[in-house]
């Protein structure tokens, strides 16, 4: 009841302010009238009676005010009056308002955008059932000192059957392969998985059913079904051919599930004898932890289990340990560093923005020092004086925050579009309540931080002092200038750190772009080709078919050289692993450290590959027509491999073998130059080349490389026609070597581009900051300049003194920034290639840039200082 009355009466008072005021006034008036009437009835004259009533009851105004100020609604009223006042103040100072708002919008927008990505990728749980119990199985190898995210089939099977903490383990592999539909082939991401896969993720098909172990069956994504069959239901029962096998689509998985890595088709896998090796890490595995079994506990269990396996298979499982990692961490681990790095950079931007706004506020509060002093002198409390400063700040921050969030929408779109393909969970990135909450918290935080100093200064104004000193006569208080200078220094320092980061990453990009890859990237058309084969005989036929195709392509105008390869640098197929050379005196290989077996990339190539790629042949010969499936096995090795395993001895004629497919000795027939396999950031390393004819199983899914004399992509249609004529069932995609190279450094480019744009924003903000400070101090010193000029000071000297002030501030900021950069540099070491964290060139460039920026920002106010007319300045006021 009472609460209800409080609310309704208050609201009524709020809505009908006048009504309530009138009622109170009426009641007070009536009270005094009654009092007077009573005095009158005791015989006083009306005038005397009124005076007596006032003597007893005090003034009517006081009573009205006291009675009228009751109720919570009055608090609201005071606040809304103050807000209106603040809004009016902001409206009257549009330059301040707009600058501060835009500055904050940039800072908050950048942070909201980056946080959106961080939240969606790193913080939000995976969109799967039992997300927190999903794990990836990894193999730790003491030989290489780290864990690889892959497993061997038998190890995974042992973990599945022996672990009690893991409810189930699913083993899968796959990648981008051609899926043959009725009339064409489509490149799709295909995963070959066992039946446990559906159990791990608790999958429920939206149409059809899950596949079972015995059948040749597949499940497809809702999108795949829609794109190729029109609707989910229509896909069920259709047959597609994958790697030559017919697979019936038995189920369609709902939209949103595309694990692993955007899979469109899941095919039931059937264990094969070739999978039994405990040294070929060709599989990935996901597991579901039992409810209540933590990752630590499971880790301990797997450690013991690995020990038992090592004892049982001392040769193969030496130094091997099975581990579990939360699936989310496994998926997002690589992007974590980049995202946190970007977040930190965005934080710096916000800091700079805050400092800028704080500085603007400070200038404003100095302009209104007299107003504040008068308020203090008239008895306003400290809080009352601080309040408008805070309110203004909150209002500006709110507007900035709203603009920032509005900015964040397109920014997130741009971010996602720019992000390298490897960015996990990109499809899940969207603004949500968490992000809005974060933005709101940032907004309030910035409001408080940026108002703190000005408000405190406002409250400390000593009325007597403030009224005495007159800024326009150059009599500012000493502390004020120092504080403004300090803010500018902080801003320059923070910008410096950002700019150095950008400089280092840009230098890294330059290094990467200028790197010799060990092969040619110009004028190279690359065709991803996937020929449908199953049996080895068919594979052999595919090799023959490709050979013919290469010959035909070579005939085409504009094509210089053609070759095929499995294991193209920066390409999507490839393999690597251990190899052995025939040791001892007979073979002449260097002694092998059993704990560090020799490791190499494996590449399967057609004759002419080295010439087409421009990889120099250093010794011996290339593969040729004489190397057939039936002739003796041969291999070509790279220089790094030769050095690693044969030292200074001539490797040609030596024996080498690897576990790629056949465990047979191969004779080294040639040595070629090294290439950087994964990306320009890679070290040129050991590569073992084998001819396609002798490894036909790896020859159906290849890259065809064409060295052209014209722009590579102009040949695309002609090549497409030719391949379609040879075999329309070859799935194919086109790209260029340059594009592949570009993609291989997408992450580096993403980082460099973002940090550079952040640094650019920082630079603009710092420039504004310097400009603001210098312009303000010049305006305040007009009188001083006038006096100096009246006494004959040179204009040049005055300009020099103004620019000198800016340069001094910049220098102090640069020194502070250098110290900070050197301290923070180790955080970025892992992102740099060919550049030292304390790269003197970057530091020097950035210092010069900031110094020039600061001086430029001071030019306009400096020039205006020299234009001061002594007479006008002295007469002013």
């Amino acid at each position: 009841m009472s609460l209800w009355r409080q609310l309704t009466y208050g609201l009524r008072g709020l809505v009908n302010r006048e009504g309530r005021d009138r009622e109170v006034a009426d009641e007070v008036e009536q009270y005094f009238e009654e009092a007077a009437a009573e005095w009158e009835s005791r015989g006083l004259s009306p005038k005397e009676a009124r005076r007596a009533a006032r003597r007893d009851g005090g003034s009517m105004t006081a009573a009205r005010e006291q009675a009228g100020s009751y109720g919570w609604e009055n608090g609201v009223k005071v606040l809304s009056d103050d807000l209106r006042f603040a809004a009016r103040q902001l409206w009257k100072h549009p330059a301040f308002t707009v600058t501060a708002m835009l500055t904050l919008a940039l800072g908050i927008g950048a942070n909201a955008a980056i946080f959106t990505v961080v939240e969606s990728v790193l913080l939000a749980p995976l969109p799967y059932h039992n997300a927190e119990r999903l794990a990836q199985l990894e193999t730790y190898r003491s030989q290489i000192g780290r864990a690889i995210p892959r497993v061997t089939w038998p190890d995974a099977m042992d973990v599945r059957s022996q672990s009690r903490n893991l409810e189930t383990v699913s083993v899968y592999n796959g990648g981008k392969v051609g899926v043959e539909l009725r009339d064409h082939s489509a490149y799709s991401i295909v995963t070959f998985a066992d039946t446990n896969f559906a159990r791990v993720f608790a999958l429920r098909p939206m149409a059809g059913r899950l596949f079972t172990a015995e059948e040749h069956a597949a499940m497809v994504s809702e999108r795949f079904a829609r794109d190729n069959f029109g609707a989910a239901q229509a896909a069920v029962g259709q047959v597609v051919r994958i790697e030559g096998e017919p697979e019936e689509i038995v189920g369609v998985l709902p939209e949103g599930f595309d694990y692993p890595g955007g899979t469109q088709v899941w095919v039931a896998s059937h264990p094969q004898p070739a999978w039994q090796g405990r040294t070929s890490f060709n599989f990935k595995a996901v597991a579901l932890l039992r409810d209540g079994a933590g990752f630590t506990q499971t880790g301990t269990e797997l450690e013991a289990l690995s020990g038992r396996l090592e004892a049982a298979y001392p040769k193969d499982n030496r130094g091997k340990a099975m581990r579990v990692k939360p699936l989310k961490e496994a998926l997002t681990g690589d992007s974590r560093q980049t995202l946190l790095f970007l977040w930190a950079a965005a934080g710096l931007i916000l800091l700079i923005a805050c400092v800028n706004v704080m500085h603007l506020q400070l200038v404003r509060s100095m302009e209104r020092q007299r107003e504040l002093a008068i308020r203090r002198a008239l008895g306003s409390s400290r809080w009352r004086v601080m309040q408008p400063v805070f309110l203004e700040s909150v209002m500006v921050a709110m507007m900035g925050g709203a603009a920032g969030v509005a900015l964040a929408f397109p920014a997130v779109k741009v971010l996602v579009a720019m992000a390298p393909k490897e960015l996990p969970r990109a499809a899940e990135i969207h603004l949500n309540l968490w992000v809005l909450g974060f933005a709101l918290a940032l907004t309030l935080g910035t409001a408080i931080v940026s108002a703190m100093l000005p408000a405190m200064r406002a409250s400390k104004v000593d009325p007597a002092d403030a009224l005495k000193c007159d800024a326009s006569r150059g009599m500012t208080r000493h502390g004020a200038g120092l504080m403004r200078d300090g803010l500018v220094v902080a801003e320059v320092a923070a910008t410096f750190v950002l700019a150095v980061g950008a400089g280092l990453l840009l230098r890294t990009m330059m290094v990467l772009n200028a790197r010799d890859m060990g092969y040619q990237t110009r004028q190279m058309l690359v065709v991803d080709a996937d020929a449908p084969v199953t049996q080895e005989m068919e594979s052999l036929r595919a090799v023959g078919m490709f050979d013919e195709l290469f010959a035909q392509l070579r005939e085409m105008p504009g094509v210089e050289k053609v070759a095929g390869v499995m294991g193209l640098p920066t390409g999507s197929y490839g393999s690597n692993g251990y190899y052995e050379t025939k040791g001892g005196e007979t073979g002449g290989g260097l002694p092998v450290d059993p704990d560090h077996p020799a490791w190499s990339n494996f590449t399967v190539a057609s004759p002419g590959y080295f010439a087409a790629m421009g990889i120099p042949l250093k010794r011996g010969r290339d593969f040729g027509a004489e190397d057939t499936h039936e002739s003796g096995m041969v291999a070509v090795i790279s220089e790094a491999l030769a050095k690693q395993s044969f030292g200074a001895a001539d490797p040609v004629g030596r024996q080498i073998k690897c576990g790629l497919d056949a465990d047979k000795w191969m004779t080294v027939v040639g040595v070629v130059g090294d290439v950087r396999q994964e990306s320009p950031a890679d070290v040129p390393g050991a590569t073992l080349y084998m001819p396609m004819t002798q490894h036909p199983f790896y020859a159906n899914q290849i890259h065809i490389v064409l060295r052209t004399t014209v722009k590579p992509l102009t040949l695309m249609h002609a090549v497409e026609e030719r391949i379609a004529k040879t075999n329309p069932l070859i799935a194919r995609r086109y790209t260029t070597m340059d594009a592949l190279m570009d993609q291989s450094i997408a992450t580096e480019r993403f980082r460099a581009a973002l940090i550079s744009s952040f640094a650019g924003v920082g630079l603009v903000l710092a420039m504004l900051g310097v400009y603001g400070t210098i312009a303000y101090s010049v305006a305040q010193r007009r009188f001083e300049f006038g006096v100096r000029m009246a006494f004959g000071a040179e204009r040049g000297a005055i300009l020099r003194s103004v620019l000198g002030h800016a340069a001094r501030l910049a220098c102090v900021g640069i020194v502070a920034g250098t110290v900070l950069s050197v301290m923070l540099a180790r955080l970025v070491t892992s992102m740099l290639v060919g550049v030292r964290p304390a790269d003197p060139a970057s530091l020097g460039m950035v210092s010069a840039l900031l110094l020039v920026t600061a001086v430029c920002a001071a030019l306009a106010p400096g020039w205006s200082a020299t234009r001061v007319d002594p007479m006008v300045a002295l007469r002013a006021e």
Partner: protein, 117 residues
Amino acid sequence: MTDANGMSDANTDVIQGTMDMLILKTLSLGPLHGFGIARRVEQVSSGVFKVNPGSLLTALQRLERAGWLDAEWRQTENSRKAKFYSLTVAGRRQLEVETEDWTRRAGAIARLLEMEG
């Protein structure tokens, strides 16, 4: 808000916290307007308590919002419009509570003072 009215004669401002009880008690005898309440309090206390109109009207609003009083504008006996306050059921209950509380406190204080003497 400054409500120092600078009176330093024998009569006192109503003791802090007792205003509500005095108003409720006064109204328990029948509806009255603001001045009526003030006059009744002063009369009954033989001028010991002096009521400040600002404080009284504020207190009336508070009690009304607490649901202890109802208010209504109507004619006075000398045909002027005035806001008349009357006790609600909840107000009557509150008066009992406060009276009991006051009696207990006053008794305790009286006993303490007697012990001294």
